[in-house]
Symmetry: C2
């Protein structure tokens, strides 16, 4: 029997929209890339294999904060097994949470996804798609009241850096997305893999 060259690939699909907060995406993405480049699965010692993509319901080039833009693919019609969907936040989140294509896509694919995550006020998009109903979640502290007021069936945790409730993970603002991503790496590949990744990123 051949020894596998690396741990099973895991897919991370970032959902971007016009006006996304660049750090919400770049921080977690760097975590997954650094884990794949520098860390190994804690149990098997095999290299880690995250495959990262960015998708959008709109144009190919998506403009984010800080004058940075990213090239995104169209929303996929199916998710590969072992896919984590990450919804980022930003000043464009209000428009994104009313984008029927984006919200419809989340509803259609929520059962296929292994995990669905939000960074910062991306939680508002998950809430609008009905994914936080009856669940615990968090968001940027400045948006906690808004999330609670608009979605009364969500239990908002104002003090957490990230919250896991079943397959839904949500994180607090901006840099908390990095903590969330490290927690996902730990969940997938053990604490040692997450520690190597954090050391690489000088966290």
């Amino acid at each position: 029997m051949l020894t596998p060259a690396s741990a099973s690939p895991r897919h991370i699909v970032f959902l971007a929209f016009q006006g996304f907060q660049v750090l919400d995406l770049a921080g977690p993405m760097q975590v997954f890339l650094s884990a794949s480049e520098h860390a190994r699965d804690s149990a098997t010692g095999l290299p880690i294999d995250y495959r990262v993509s960015v998708v959008s319901s709109g144009p190919t080039r998506v403009q984010g904060s800080l004058s940075l833009a990213i090239d995104a693919e169209a929303l996929p019609s199916a998710l590969k097994p072992g896919t984590t969907v990450m919804v980022v936040g930003g000043k464009g989140v209000e428009a994104a949470s009313h984008d029927p294509l984006l919200i419809g896509w989340l509803r259609t694919h929520k059962d296929e996804a292994e995990r669905i995550c939000s960074v910062c006020n991306g939680a508002l998009v998950l809430a609008r798609a009905g994914l936080l109903a009856g669940k615990r979640a968090t968001t940027h502290w400045v948006d906690c009241d808004k999330l609670q007021r608009n979605f009364r069936d969500v239990t908002v945790d104002r003090d957490a850096i990230y919250v896991r409730d079943g397959k839904i993970w949500s994180s607090a603002g901006v840099s908390a997305g990095i903590d969330l991503a490290l927690a996902l790496v730990a969940d997938d590949h053990g604490e040692a893999a997450a520690a190597v990744t954090a050391k690489w990123m000088v966290l």
Copy 2:
């Protein structure tokens, strides 16, 4: 006498190059923008006014890591008073440190700049421009040996998150650029301003 509407503007010029590490730029940039949006000068209570720009010796659109790109201006022919130059790092740093336009620009304007900073392996660019000669500096831990080997007149501090030596500030890898930027905000506007900014970014 009219009361000023905000603290004196300070200019932050990010020096980008093909293959720059997006987090090296986006982390510090978000610090300066968050400080301007949410914090006040600790001594005077006035709003903070950082004016951020991105410049490059090459094409207008500069491709960074993580599939992100940024629109940059040409290298300016003069620096405004109160300008901090920030040189980021990334996989393109080796080519950047051999770019005669970029290195020549740094040498020409080093006396005009109020501060010159590096993030991650951007320290190699400062070293190549002769700005670290006889000075203490740091870089990503994986690059400390290389910096020391190639530039024997630099005192490399391997354990620091950031190092200040006169007007030259250097930081360790990736996320350490955020710590450096917060230290610059504290230097300009006091610790309270830096604390408000960090809270906003959930650090």
